[in-house]
């Protein structure tokens, strides 16, 4: 059980989907119960991972990836692709988020979905497996297969159960993401060949590619970085590629947009952290400029634009879901800012902010879904004075708004504070530009809260809205608990992220001041070379990085 | 008498090419399907001419039984015959349905 836990977590939802195939189509109740049971079992199965992983963290276990499963090329030996699973601190947190949100969203779509219930839950559970696969895959090919396979169920979820313009949104989502991932395929092939050219072995194993990717000459590496960047930036979504998000969100069913915002967007940032940073340190730290701005400068620039631009646009949205969608663009702008600040603070803050965004935006979409289920409209103008009619709903929404806004003692603040501090330490101008995002977040959320909840009930249709049912409250309870836990006591999360983050920073910026009591200090003095001995070629080989502040 | 021009392989090839071009133009411009089929036959005959002329030429190089070209020519002839037969058969079927053998009537299936 211990060393096959990952496969079990990965395939539980799939087993559920296959089981659902045999349930007769018209027996809706049975289908709903089986789907919910499997979603919950999927979450339960991931629970034992927590104590085991925590034990490893306490023992300060050195292995970069834990719970590794499967040999290097046991899947397709002739091209060197293998079924290898493994997690580290970052993917562990994201997996827990995925299973949690998966269960919450399936629970929340109990009453939302009436037609073709069976296919809905089948595609949803297939989507769940696809997402878990992306976070667990340690083989680049396996990663790519899960990355693309996950598009199909999402496309169908939006396309069949979506809103009025569902076809347009579904096709746009599919084409957009596919275009990005296809470019990524070329990048993968290039690395695959580069690895063969250097070591004479064909393999897709990520740990092997970590060794040879950083030595790709700069003028090739820039194009490679760009190919990966497009793939991940579309997923995040970063500034110029974000236009699919509002359409996909507005048209997707509630549970669909909870999962879309909660987990799918995190794959882009996960991709940056797992692939772009460790593979191309020579690009990120290279002072060469394009339009006299370094590559890293561009990344930071795009994230800052995303923060401010996303917040400004969401300020003026008329449709609630579009507003929350644009707010995700702004929040993920923070995450990418944290990633490209390339400091331990920025990185761990960014991963934590991804978890927070999953929780708070997931909750926001549930909130919008609840109103949509009752009134079948998302126009803000339609509502007013809801807190007179639905007080419990209003309080839960207030808590989630505050968490999303980044109020201290709630999870949003911890992430944003660490990111801002990390970015500020790198270059105070970046930090200064990011801070208005925090103010704008407060502006658009409070203005939304005022227009929907405060004031007297003007629209007669709003009078007889019934407050939250116990099931609906149940969907919020885990999210609120997580929000307060991360807000009040985030230390365990930082400790989990400690090892992966310091390893990534050691690869990308070897001359970054190593922490005094660093994780692997007791081996030898904390020289960067030793810190990353297991994973990366000694720093001496990596071209001297300019590092430091611009 | 030998002042008369000595006919070499090149002349045959030129004739073959001319026949070939005639056939192609015939296929492009004529509107009657039978005429088009005949132009295709023309092209195949051009090929035969080429083959026989070249076979004659190579006989001079490889000795008397280097008759690859002519064997090829025979096969091309049989093929042309088969094609003509099938072509006319299909044309008749087409004619039975549409009472015309005009090429530009063939417009049901479009872009």
């Amino acid at each position: 059980m211990y060393n096959h836990i990952l496969s079990i977590i990965l395939f539980t939802p799939l087993v559920g989907a296959i089981l659902l195939l045999f349930v007769p189509k018209d027996n809706k109740e049975a289908i709903r119960w089986i789907a919910n049971i499997f979603a919950f079992v999927g979450f339960l199965v991931s629970i034992p991972l927590v104590p085991w992983f925590w034990a490893l963290v306490q023992r300060q276990d050195k292995a970069p990836f834990k719970f590794i499963e499967g040999a290097v090329n046991n899947w397709i030996p002739s091209i060197g692709a293998g079924y290898v699973l493994g997690i580290d601190g970052i993917s562990f947190l994201l997996i827990m988020l995925t299973t949690l949100l998966g269960w919450v969203s399936i629970l929340s779509s109990w009453t939302a979905i009436e037609n073709r219930v069976k296919e809905y839950y089948i595609w949803f559970l297939v989507l769940q497996t696809g997402m878990l696969g992306v976070f667990m895959a340690l083989d680049f090919f396996l990663f790519f297969v899960f990355w693309e396979a996950m598009l199909v169920p999402m496309y169908l979820l939006i396309g069949i159960w979506g809103g009025p313009r569902k076809l347009y949104a579904a096709i746009k989502f599919f084409l957009y993401t596919l275009a990005g991932s296809v470019l990524m395929l070329l990048g993968i092939l290039f690395l695959y060949f580069n690895h063969h050219a250097v070591t004479g072995v064909y393999t897709f194993s990520i740990q092997e590619l970590y060794k040879t990717a950083p030595h790709v000459p700069f003028h090739y590496a820039v194009w490679l970085f760009f190919a990966f960047f497009v793939g991940f930036a579309i997923k995040v979504p970063m500034f110029p590629f974000h236009t699919w998000l509002p359409d996909a969100h507005v048209e997707a069913p509630t549970a669909g947009s909870v999962i879309l915002a909660g987990v799918l967007l995190k794959m882009g940032t996960y991709g940056f952290v797992r692939f772009s940073l460790p593979f191309f340190p020579q690009v990120l730290s290279n002072p060469a400029t394009f339009l006299n701005v370094t590559v890293r400068g561009w990344m930071i620039g795009l994230s800052l634009v995303a923060i401010i631009y996303g917040a400004l646009v969401s300020l003026m949205q008329k449709d609630m879901k579009k507003l929350v969608a644009y707010s995700s663009v702004s929040h993920l702008g923070f995450c990418t800012l944290g990633i490209f600040a390339l400091t331990p603070l920025g990185l761990s803050g960014s991963v934590l902010q991804q978890i927070n965004h999953g929780i708070s935006t997931g909750a926001l979409f549930l909130i919008v879904g609840i109103l949509y289920e009752r009134r079948h409209t998302r126009e803000i103008a339609e509502y007013g004075g809801i807190s007179n009619v639905m007080p419990v709903y209003a309080t839960i929404t207030m808590i989630m708004f505050l968490s999303s806004m980044g109020l201290p003692l709630l999870n949003g603040f911890v992430g944003e504070f660490t990111i801002l501090q990390g970015t500020f330490m790198e270059n105070w101008k970046w930090g200064a530009w990011a801070v208005p995002g925090v103010v704008l977040a407060a502006a658009y959320l409070l203005w939304l809260y005022q227009r929907v909840f405060f004031g007297t009930v003007t629209n007669p249709k709003n009078e007889k809205l019934h407050d939250l049912t116990p099931r609906e409250v149940a969907t919020f309870v885990p999210l609120i608990i997580m929000a307060f836990w991360i807000g009040l006591y985030p230390k365990p999360f930082f400790q989990i992220l400690e090892q992966p983050v310091s390893q990534i920073v050691a690869t990308v910026r070897p001359d970054y001041p190593q922490p005094k009591g660093a994780v692997n200090a007791e081996q030898q003095p904390a020289s960067p070379a030793s810190a990353s001995a297991t994973v990366v070629v000694p720093a001496a080989v990596v071209p001297k990085t300019a590092g430091g502040k611009q | 008498m030998d002042a008369m021009l000595h006919i070499s392989t090149l002349h045959y090839l030129v004739l073959g090419a001319a026949l070939f071009l005639l056939g192609v133009i015939g296929v492009l411009t004529r509107r009657n399907v039978v005429i088009v089929l005949m132009s295709i036959e023309l092209i195949l005959n051009a090929v035969n001419l080429n083959l026989v002329a070249l076979s004659r030429y190579w006989q001079g190089v490889y000795g008397p039984n280097a008759l690859h070209g002519q064997v090829f020519a025979i096969f091309v002839i049989t093929d042309a015959a088969a094609e003509a037969a099938v072509g006319l058969g299909i044309l008749i079927a087409f004619f039975r349905n549409k009472e015309t053998i005009n090429v530009d009537e063939v417009n049901l299936l479009k872009w």
Binding site: A170, V182, L185, L186, F193 | I43, N50, V76, I90, F94
Partner: protein, 514 residues
């Protein structure tokens, strides 16, 4: 008299599959007279058994070659070379034909054209294909091409009462004959220049020809030959017959044509351009001339086919354009490698692509064939509307085929593209790779159009489930399982292609040129 002595026992062995198929074809023609109307399906069964026998013959050849550890062996005075490459294609043809036969049994009853000649012609066209694949002499290749082409013309025009079928046949015949005429002219010039019809001899003499003043003739010869080749696989400047032929022909024949005939076309193209992977010959010496040509053709094919497919409303015509687009991607495989040196991964890509393409396309056309019942012709896009509620299994299978055609990873279609792009990247054609990759995203748009119709379209006609015959179910089962299985566990099939091309088992780059 001396000639007879040159035939040896091995010639008969190598020709065994061809002989068996011809015998079965003639047998069907004879039996067809005695069969009463309701027993017509017997022809299909005999045809199917014929294919099985032929397959047994191929296995016998393979075992024999394995016994003597030969990569391949000549036959009929070095005109026929049955090497592993040819055997691979034999299996491909026979597999495609078997599934096509399964698909067409009930279809012909629905069309009331259930005559034996249908299956006889099919077997004969397979004989033609085998000659093209195994032919090492331009005459044999030409004859194989003509045999296949003529039997396919008749098959396309098989629905005598349907005007579209007639028109398609006529159009296909005229253009086919025209292109084989040009092709023959090219071959004659090649013979003229090199003095021999054997590909190896041609390859030996060609470099000398290219040096002196006969080069322009050689170029004309190359161009006219390549016209014939590109016509057969329907690359862009010569592709316009394909949509009409595919749309007009009976759907099962369209399936057969898009899979087996196209694979034969590719076999012939590879034979003539590079000879055998174990004995590189043919027009490889002129690779520096035909690569730029192919670059233009492949880009034109991808652009033309994808753009045209966007606005199609007829499913058969849309799948025709999609198969033309796939030809565009396959041509990239040929282009990969330096201007003078071939890339083994490229050829491997083409072969894998053909294998995977066979199952995907046959499956897709199978679903469209199954739509044909009572009054519905079944090839308009809105016939697919709401297929999900009428035949859920068919709809899901169709989705699998469409996504595989689009190249989504867990399905077989991805593998074809994977190796092609792998070869392009390894030989440095980054721009071409990027272009190819972006076009494949294009492709997804029109596949999704069909998927949308199936899953999200409303059903106008009555809410009755679609009757699907047993054989059709079997055909779809085979193709669906193959698409999924190759997609998820492709290793066995990649090794088969490695075996066919003689690439060493371990993926280190094999030295093809020996």
């Amino acid at each position: 008299m001396g000639l007879l002595s040159q035939f040896s026992w091995t010639d008969y062995l190598l020709a065994l599959p061809i002989i068996l198929l011809t015998l079965f074809a003639l047998g069907i023609l004879l039996i067809d007279f005695m069969l009463p109307a309701e027993m017509k399906w017997a022809n299909a069964v005999t045809a199917f058994i014929g294919v099985l026998f032929a397959a047994a013959g191929v296995v016998k050849i393979q075992l024999w070659m394995h016994a003597n550890a030969l990569p391949g062996s000549y036959g009929f005075m070095r005109t026929l070379l049955v090497d592993r490459f040819a055997i691979y294609f034999f299996y491909l043809f026979l597999g495609g034909t078997a599934v096509a036969i399964l698909m067409s049994m009930r279809y012909l009853e629905a069309e009331h054209e259930n005559h034996g000649e249908y299956y006889a012609l099919m077997l004969l066209s397979v004989v033609g294909m085998m000659c093209m694949a195994a032919g090492f002499d331009i005459v044999l290749i030409f004859i194989g091409l003509e045999l296949m082409a003529i039997s396919t013309y008749v098959l396309v025009g098989f629905l005598r009462r349907d005007r579209r079928s007639n028109e398609a046949a006529l159009k296909y015949l005229l253009l086919g004959a025209f292109s084989s005429g040009i092709f023959a002219y090219g071959l004659s010039l090649i013979y003229g220049l090199t003095g021999s019809t054997n590909l190896y001899e041609i390859a030996r003499h060609l470099p000398a020809v290219l040096q002196d003043e006969r080069k322009p003739i050689a170029i004309i010869a190359l161009l006219t030959t390549i016209t014939g080749l590109l016509f057969k696989i329907a690359a862009v400047p010569f592709h316009q017959w394909a949509p009409d032929a595919y749309e007009g022909a009976p759907t099962s024949i369209t399936g057969f044509m898009s899979v087996a005939v196209k694979a034969a076309g590719w076999a012939m193209l590879l034979r003539i351009l590079i000879g055998s992977p174990f004995l590189l010959s043919g027009l490889l010496a002129m690779r520096s001339t035909w690569v730029p040509l192919l670059v233009f053709v492949s880009i034109a094919t991808m652009t033309g086919a994808n753009f045209a497919a966007l606005t199609q409303t007829n499913t058969k015509r849309l799948l025709a354009y999609s198969s033309i687009a796939h030809v565009g991607y396959m041509l990239l495989g040929l282009i990969a490698g330096t201007v003078t040196q071939l890339s083994p991964d490229g050829i491997k890509g083409i072969l894998v692509y053909l294998l995977v393409y066979t199952f995907m396309n046959l499956g897709a056309f199978g679903v469209i064939t199954s739509l044909r019942h009572k009054n519905v012709i079944g090839d308009e896009l809105d016939d697919l509307n709401g297929l999900y509620s009428r035949a859920p299994v068919e709809a899901v299978l169709m989705l699998v085929f469409l996504l595989s055609l689009a190249g989504i990873p867990p399905l077989a279609g991805f593998w074809g593209k994977y190796f092609i792009f792998l070869s392009l990247i390894s030989s440095g054609h980054y721009v071409l790779a990027a272009l190819g990759v972006l076009y494949s995203v294009f492709g997804l748009y029109y596949y999704l159009k069909m998927a949308n119709a199936m899953f999200m379209g409303k059903v106008e006609t009555g809410e009755e489930t679609l009757p699907v015959s047993l054989t059709m179910r079997a055909a779809l089962g085979v193709t669906g399982f193959a698409t999924l299985f190759i997609g998820i566990m492709p290793d066995r099939f990649i090794q088969m292609v490695n075996w066919a091309l003689g690439i060493a088992q371990n993926p280190a780059i094999a030295k093809l040129m020996h």
